[in-house]
């Protein structure tokens, strides 16, 4: 269960965790025992909390005695005052962001083994938020970039220099989603009286990736044990005297593939 596996990361990020369903306590107790779940599974028998949250799944008819009372499945991140800071409700049941990916996107740290990539003028380390993915999994590729002393690179949107760009090689079954770049700093280059957005301190690129959950993609990925995603990091490094040649650094990540998990919860 992914949540249990990330419990330490979640707690290190300062968050509590609970999962809520309409199941009676004995069902949850049995489930927790079988899956070795240590965080609270809360029994909302009668679905009053699910209703109070406005989450009662209206696609299930009240005459459906087994399933009536289930929620639209989803996840809320709330602050200490109970204010929602982030929420994940996907349109298709099999599509979901992994908790690891959410933690990273919220600025948290993950206990992940990062790989070093050699590149001119930069120290690069990278990891994926998840090592095993399935059709519908939304996860993230994380690239930590440290410009070496005195060097800066150009932020996305900058013209006249080669801005930092992480380009994922397209491949069937993999959807490339948003990339998160931090806010750059303003760099004043006196000889040209020029202001330009740069990164000169360590920064993190978080690139979201989704495994296609369509039937075609599922069929195509069915017999594959792993999936390799390839990308190129383009950038140009300069210091206060020299602009070096633009660079194009190849990199790749391999994740294990598992079949679509039709079982809920995660």
């Amino acid at each position: 269960m992914e949540l249990q596996g990330r419990l330490e990361d979640i707690q290190r990020h300062g968050l509590g965790l609970a999962a809520i369903s309409y199941d009676p306590v004995p069902v949850l107790a049995d489930f927790a025992r079988r899956r070795t779940i240590t965080f609270p599974l809360l029994s909302d028998e009668g679905s009053s909390t699910i209703k109070a949250y406005g989450l009662l799944n209206t696609t299930v008819a009240p005459t459906n005695k087994t399933q009536y009372g289930i929620p639209f499945p989803g996840t809320f991140f709330v602050d200490r005052d109970g204010i929602v800071t982030s929420r994940v409700f996907e349109t298709a049941y099999q599509e979901r962001d992994t908790i690891s990916s959410l933690i990273v996107r919220l600025g948290g740290q993950l206990d992940a083994t990062a790989t070093k990539i050699s590149a001119p003028h930069l120290d690069l380390t990278t990891f994926t938020t998840d090592q095993t993915v399935a059709p519908g999994t939304h996860f993230s590729i994380v690239l930590d970039v440290t410009p070496r002393r005195g060097v800066h690179v150009y932020a996305p949107g900058v013209t006249g220099y080669r801005p930092v760009a992480l380009t994922i090689a397209p491949q069937p079954g993999v959807a490339v989603r948003d990339a998160q770049f931090p806010k750059p700093v303003d760099y004043y280059f006196k000889p040209l009286d020029e202001h330009v957005n740069v990164y000169e301190r360590p920064f993190r690129i978080v690139q979201d990736v989704a495994i296609d959950a369509s039937r075609e993609a599922e069929a195509m990925l069915k017999d594959r044990a792993t999936l390799t995603i390839q990308a190129t990091l383009d950038y140009q490094a300069c210091d206060d005297k020299v602009c070096f040649n633009p660079q194009s650094v190849p990199m790749s990540w391999t994740v294990a593939l598992k079949p679509l998990d039709r079982e809920r919860p995660r």
Binding site: L28, P40, S43, F76, I83, V84, R264, P265
Partner: protein
């Protein structure tokens, strides 16, 4: 459009919603920036838990899932 026209449209919209089970789950439940309702529920060990008792120093993650039973 006059008031009765607006009402007719609304009625049609409500009727259409009632007929169609399609709901965009992104629109249901508390949205970002709003406060979630408090609750008191029993956990798998039989202990009573409130939203406040689940909070870590920075808040909490609440996962609503279908069922542990099927």
């Amino acid at each position: 459009m006059n008031t009765s026209g607006v009402l007719a449209c609304l009625a049609t919209a409500i009727w259409a919603t009632g007929q169609s089970p399609a709901v965009d789950p992104r629109t249901v439940g508390p949205q970002v920036g709003t406060k979630v309702p408090s609750f008191t529920l029993t956990d798998q060990a039989g202990r009573s838990r409130t939203l406040a008792s689940l909070m870590g120093p920075k808040g909490a993650i609440l996962v609503f899932f279908r069922s542990a039973d099927w």
